[in-house]
Amino acid sequence: MSNPTNNAPAAHSAGAPEESRPSLSALLLDPSFWADWASVVGLVGLVIIFGIAQPVFLSVANLQALLLASAILVVLSIGQTFVVATSGIDLSLAAAVMFGAIVLGLVNAAGYGILIACVLAVLATSAIGFLNGLIITVGKIPDFVVTLGTLSAITGLGLILSGGEPTMVGSTFLLKLASGSFGPFGYPVWVAISAVIVAHIALYHTRFGVHLLATGGQTESAGALGIRTNRVKIAAYTISGFCAGIAAILLVARIGSAEPLINTSLLLNSVAAVVLGGVSLFGGRASILGPAIGALMLTALVNGLTLLSVSAFYQPLAVGAIVVLAALIMRYQK
């Protein structure tokens, strides 16, 4: 602190090693390299295998369809990532999607504009996330228990509101959203891409992002440094809820109706994508690109197996095998 003139050589010694990059071959021999890039390696591997086994896989139309199909899962995986980064888990994610869809359907059916319906759907799911976070932090109840509870509660609420009946949503806006495209990609893909960009910036380029990782890594230490860890956690769950709302809009657009059905594979796949993306389930380590690519990989897996006419019985097995394999590789993470 006393003699700033004296700092140049020392600064150099402190910063020097980071500039020297390891050689490519050293990189390829390092298991932690593979661990950090598991989802990318997996995706590339799948693309090569499927591309050889079934050329249709690499057709532009199929790749476009694949991206379109992955949009919902990508958005959900981002939401799940924020929660997992705080060392939590959001089991109510798929139920929140269902709830958001029902709110959207009912508000629309009640004669309000589709935009109002979409906004209210996102508000509703964000509120669910906010509540999750509030109960977990203020009530000091494990995330697992709370989100399991909300899962059940909002399922019930969704059934009550909808009377168990699907609601048709014949909006041209949503139809365009689902089937229209800009440039090479369909609108849902653009939605997913925007979500990835915004989330990436939030995680890596804002104070919130650092505080999120600090809270997930060592909550107590983060708190001792003045980070409002409860607020950070509540924010993470709210973001997860927000993502569920966006996913609900994409879902209603895609299937044309709001249904009181919970797609459990969305929840499981969101967690799987997060794991594939190299996010630590113990919190503190996260990326956005990783889970997004993980989601893409899971979708590509189903798409490729379908094109290869592999029976539906084998598909969950393949997904399970890949996730466990990824978890094993992850042990070599830096």
Binding site: G45, L159, G163, G164, M168, G256, S265, T306
Partner: protein, 329 residues
């Protein structure tokens, strides 16, 4: 490098489990997508599709959703198949609308779409610019009514009956319950209706409670066989003589009827629905005009015909009308 081992292993695994459907050079190729294979009903349907395809010399690829709630996953799989060169698409959608968008490219290629078991909403299909070539399915209301008529024969007039429905709001469950209610209207007293989510254990618990609440109950109608078997277990435990009727005609239920436990079940034939779907595809590919609606057979199974049904399972115990077969002759 572990990952490479993993990948090559994966590739090998793939190679072994990929079964390229065998079919003659110029035979029609059918793409079929059904609901989740986590349910025997759809497994039987798949069997019907595959066996009929073999018998007719048609190539077929059957795909299914990951589970009964996987509406988007089913659409994704259909989208992938739509890119491939199939001559006809046989679809059993999870909901009335989840496959509509995935069918648009199919319709654009002017390939016939055969809708089986669960309907696709005609309005939405129209808005998306296509119409299905035909719908083949069982009439759930009629099936429920058959169960109701059998119940009328089994219990005294004015007797009390309880209804066990599937998942709240399920269209199929609602229709079956509706048919049953219409058949017994004014003749029997429906004291309670509960929902047991198509689940055997939930049905058992619910039935136990109902039996405690209504000691003079005469009969149960459950909207599917799985739940009926759960109810039957509760009735046996209570030691009372309460009639139980199910619906579906799964093997366990047929055995139970033959053994004198379940009073009756209304058999639907997913096997036949699947088989008729393949026939419809074959006819459509040949350029035949298909009827808009082809009813699939339903049959009441009681002690008299349970043995015969078991023997023929998953095919019906006897002859059934099949306009599509006539058409192919």
């Amino acid at each position: 490098m572990r990952i490479f081992n993993g990948l090559t292993l994966g590739a090998g695994l793939l190679a072994t489990i990929v079964s390229i459907p065998a079919h003659a050079e110029d035979a029609a190729k059918v793409a079929a997508i059904v609901k989740g294979l986590d349910n025997p009903f759809f497994q039987t349907m798949q069997k019907g599709i595959e066996e009929q395809a073999k018998a007719d010399g048609v190539g077929v690829t059957v795909q299914a959703a990951a589970n009964m709630g996987d509406a988007t996953g089913q659409a994704d799989r259909l989208t992938a198949m739509a890119l491939q060169d199939f001559d006809c698409y046989l679809v059993n959608p999870i909901s009335v609308s989840n496959l509509v968008q995935a069918l648009v490219p199919v319709a654009q290629k002017k390939k016939p779409i055969v809708n089986i078991d669960s309907t696709i909403d005609a309005e939405q299909a129209k808005a998306a610019g296509f119409a299905v070539s035909t719908y083949i399915g069982t009439d759930n209301v009629a099936a429920g009514a058959l169960a109701g008529e059998e119940m009328l024969k089994l219990v005294p007039k004015g007797g009390k009956v309880a209804l066990v429905a599937g998942i709240v709001g399920d269209v199929g469950s609602n229709a079956r319950i509706k048919g049953f209610k219409q058949a017994v209207e004014g003749k029997l007293e429906v004291v309670v209706m509960v929902s047991a989510d198509w689940d055997r254990e939930k049905a058992l618990t619910a039935a136990t409670d109902i039996l405690a609440a209504h000691p003079d109950l005469a009969g149960f109608f459950a909207a599917n066989d799985i739940m009926a078997l759960g109810v039957e277990r509760a009735v046996q435990t209570s030691g009372k003589d309460v009639k139980v009727i199910g619906l579906d005609g799964i093997v366990d239920a047929l055995k139970s009827v033959a053994a004198g436990e379940l009073s009756a079940t209304v058999a639907q034939y997913p096997y036949v629905v699947g088989a008729m779907g393949v026939e419809a595809c074959k006819a459509a590919v040949k350029g035949k005009q298909l009827p808009a609606y082809v009813p699939a057979p339903v049959l009441l199974i009681n002690k008299d015909n349970a043995e015969a049904s078991l023997k023929n399972f998953p095919r019906p115990g006897g002859e059934y009308p099949d306009p599509l077969r006539e058409m192919l002759k």
